[in-house]
């Protein structure tokens, strides 16, 4: 197998494509750097000059408002110039190939490409073809990875739980299609969380997932028992009724997080969700808005984490 395409010859982060394969030291470097940026986001003048004169191209082949916006804010707080490209609506419909689009943008002197694409692995293809001084950050590819989301989840968990060494974490719902779940699983296992569980019906749990170092539960109540962290995944509308699930209501009945089910987890458990939430499908409103929920802090930390990732790759 080829060398890890994310690291440069000195083993530093060249691109952020996936949490899988990153050494613990790099994950900790990102989280520590993010911690220093949390202060910046709370200041009167929310800017540092770390990326002044650099260009960040937000290259979204799949529509997204939230992730794109948080990357944009993060880049601006680093004083970078940000160009947003909604590629789904432009070149691709004119028949331009993915690599031609990237080559054209590269000719406009990009430093960082933030890429979201509907097809797993697309950022790897781009990273293979950019110039040596250009960096690619995966903002979500198919069902493969969403590493900055994984990192902000890790940051949030560390913020509330301090130490990964004794944690039980449950990831609930549509694991099959979830890049968020895959990224978080790799992050947790790398940082030493002893028990990572995935909970869902067989139809939404991918084959061989245990090999990633997780325990599979189909009974949500059993899976939540003793958990310190509960991560609810978003269920896409188009999967709510069809061959995978009979209905959103039935999904909620079996796998929706209610106060009654949450009571089975540890008393100080935190509840996370990558957003956007489907209230009444994955999660009951009282839980989403309740004392265990850290869903909004996740969003705030997300900006600091994306600042950390961008400043680190741009500096390598």
């Amino acid at each position: 197998m080829a060398a890890n395409p994310q690291l440069n010859a000195s083993g530093e982060l060249q691109h952020l494509l996936s949490i899988e394969g990153l050494p613990r030291a790099i994950l900790e470097q990102i989280l520590n750097t993010a911690e220093s940026f949390v202060g910046v986001t709370e200041r009167e003048v929310k800017k540092v000059p770390l990326m002044r004169g650099k260009s960040v191209f937000n290259l979204f082949f799949e529509p997204s408002t939230r992730t794109r916006t948080t990357f944009e804010i993060a880049a601006k707080r680093l004083s970078a110039d940000v160009i947003n490209l909604n590629v789904a609506a432009s070149s691709q419909t004119k028949g331009e190939s993915l690599l031609d689009t990237v080559a054209n943008l590269s000719a406009m002197q990009a430093d960082v490409f933030v890429v979201r694409h509907g097809s797993s692995g697309a950022p790897y293809l781009i990273a293979r073809h950019v110039k040596p001084h250009e960096h690619v950050i995966n903002a979500g590819d198919g069902r493969h990875a969403h590493p900055t989301q994984g990192l902000l989840d890790l940051y949030t968990i560390r913020h509330y739980k301090k130490d990964f060494g004794a944690l039980t974490v449950a990831i609930v719902g549509d694991v099959l299609h979830s890049r968020v779940a895959r990224s978080l699983i790799h992050g947790l296992t790398t940082l030493g969380a002893p028990e990572v569980r995935v909970i869902g019906p067989q139809t939404l749990i991918p084959a061989g997932v245990a090999a990633l170092g997780v325990r599979v539960f189909h009974d949500m109540r059993a899976g939540l028992k003793g958990c310190d962290v509960v991560v609810m995944l978003r269920l896409q509308n188009e999967r709510m009724n069809g061959p995978l699930l009979p209905s959103a209501q039935e999904f909620f009945k079996n796998y929706g997080l209610t106060a009654e089910k949450l009571a089975l987890a540890n008393p100080d458990a935190i509840v996370m969700h990558p957003g956007p939430m489907n209230r009444g499908v994955e999660i009951d409103s009282p839980v989403a808005d309740g004392p265990h929920s850290v869903i909004l802090p996740q969003v705030t930390f997300g900006i600091a984490v994306r600042m950390a990732v961008m400043s680190i790759v741009a500096g390598n």
């Binding site: 197998m1 080829a2 899988e20 993915l98 690599l99 797993s120 692995g121 590819d141 198919g142 061989g208």
Partner: protein, 420 residues
């Protein structure tokens, strides 16, 4: 015109012969007489074997000349020592009309390189709905009927197609795949697909379809050759079916005895194949099944794809790998890995496919067509785009050093390829 091939190591799997000697060729056929010849080739240090017979090579004509042309792929065939090849019907349009078949045969013949045997479409446009005109197509030169990589979803149609083909004794070549189960899938449904976030194709996609097809073989008596087995379970099923004396044979693609899902690495689109590369256990069972004869032969499954269609995210990349020039070295590598004799190794690419195709070539015996390959089994070469004659440079083996270099290829007594 006569030809004397002198002093080579003659390896003829059909007779089991492996000895130093001369081969005499007269009027396009192997002859007894060892006298003066119009031309003499010194084959010292080379293996003289029957030319390879490849049961699946896409030449991309008609309709996909941007990927490859008959001329480029026929050059590739003879450079790889392949002297006979069967063309699957998945051209554009598919080989479902005698005119198309006739044109393909004429154009191939005019190039006078390898012999091309068209395989006709089993159903019109390969759509799996209406039967193709098999008798008309057979008359035009189709040697068998197939759906290539397009499974028939409607089992009623499959049943009737086998009944109809059995009526006239036409062989049917099928790939076992349940179209519903494989829908959307792009990689073997296992740990690797889960890691890479690729939609999976479970192994039972193949075995469920194979079980259905074997039942239909039993019911109809159709002679069926199963193409591109990809799972260990399918090898077991074929072993059982042969024990029951069902009229079935099968093949495996050369990539599948060497590679597995782990070779996808970081989304190597050269490993985007149909069927998908499966687990290491499957690969081992396929390599073993090919050795013990459960799998009758190995094919290149040659599918040249232009670079643009491979420079895409894995799931969007076109399936297939170039293979005509790699079949011999990769077959030798498989044989060496299993410690097989050259006779046994070469049988899987010569006499065994000849039996399935029902042709006289594939052996070195007086009267047989003089289709021969002269190669150095030790000489190694690096698989680089410039080293391949095929227009398709798409292979997972790019950059590999492989042993087995063709020096001369002879079809019907004429030298059609000579190493530069």
């Amino acid at each position: 015109m006569s030809l004397l091939i002198k002093g080579g190591r003659i390896v003829d799997p059909a007779s089991g012969r492996d000895e130093i000697g001369d081969v005499f060729v007269d009027k396009g056929r192997i002859a007894e007489k060892k006298g003066k010849a119009d031309e003499t080739i010194d084959a010292k240090g080379l293996v003289v074997a029957p030319g390879l017979i490849d049961l699946a090579a896409r030449l991309r004509e008609p309709g996909q000349e941007y990927k490859a042309t008959l001329a480029s792929e026929m050059d590739a065939a003879v450079a790889g020592g392949v002297t006979s090849l069967a063309c699957p019907p998945d051209t554009h349009p598919p080989l479902d009309e005698p005119g198309l078949v006739d044109m393909l045969r004429r154009r191939a013949k005019a190039l006078s390189r390898a012999r091309a045997y068209p395989v006709g479409a089993l159903t019109v446009k390969l759509a799996g709905e209406r039967l193709a005109e098999m008798s008309v197509l057979a008359e035009a030169g189709c040697v068998a009927f197939s759906q290539a990589n397009v499974p028939i979803a409607d089992t009623q149609v499959l049943w009737r197609a086998l009944q109809y083909a059995a009526t006239f004794g036409y062989p049917v070549w099928l790939r076992a795949e349940d179209r519903w189960l494989s829908r959307e899938g792009v990689a073997h449904d296992g740990e690797m697909a889960t890691r890479l976030g690729l939609a999976g194709i479970p192994a039972f996609t193949e075995t469920i379809a194979l079980a259905t097809m074997l039942q239909l073989v039993g019911a109809t008596g159709a002679r069926v050759h199963f193409c591109r087995l990809s799972t260990a379970a399918a090898v077991d099923m074929m072993r059982a079916a042969k024990k029951e004396k069902l009229p079935v044979t099968c093949d495996v693609g050369i990539h599948y005895v060497h590679l597995s899902e782990t070779d996808l690495g970081y989304y190597d689109s050269h490993c985007r194949l149909d069927p998908p590369l499966r687990s290491q256990r499957d690969r081992e069972a396929l390599a073993a099944g090919l050795a013990d004869g459960t799998i009758d032969c190995v094919v290149s499954d040659h599918a040249p794809v232009d670079e643009d269609q491979k420079q895409l995210p894995f799931a969007e990349a076109e399936t297939g790998a170039t293979g005509l020039e790699l079949l011999l070295p990769l077959a030798l590598k498989w044989g060496a890995g299993r410690k097989l004799s050259l006779v046994k190794t070469l049988a899987r690419v010569t006499s065994d496919p000849a039996r399935i195709l029902g042709v006289q070539s594939g052996r070195i015996a007086p009267g047989a067509p003089a289709d021969l390959v002269l190669f150095d089994p030790e000489e190694s070469w690096r698989v680089l785009p410039g080293a391949l004659k095929s227009q398709g440079k798409n292979t997972p083996f790019l950059g590999y050093e492989l042993a087995g270099r063709v020096h001369e290829t002879i079809v019907a007594g004429s030298v059609v390829y000579r190493k530069q």
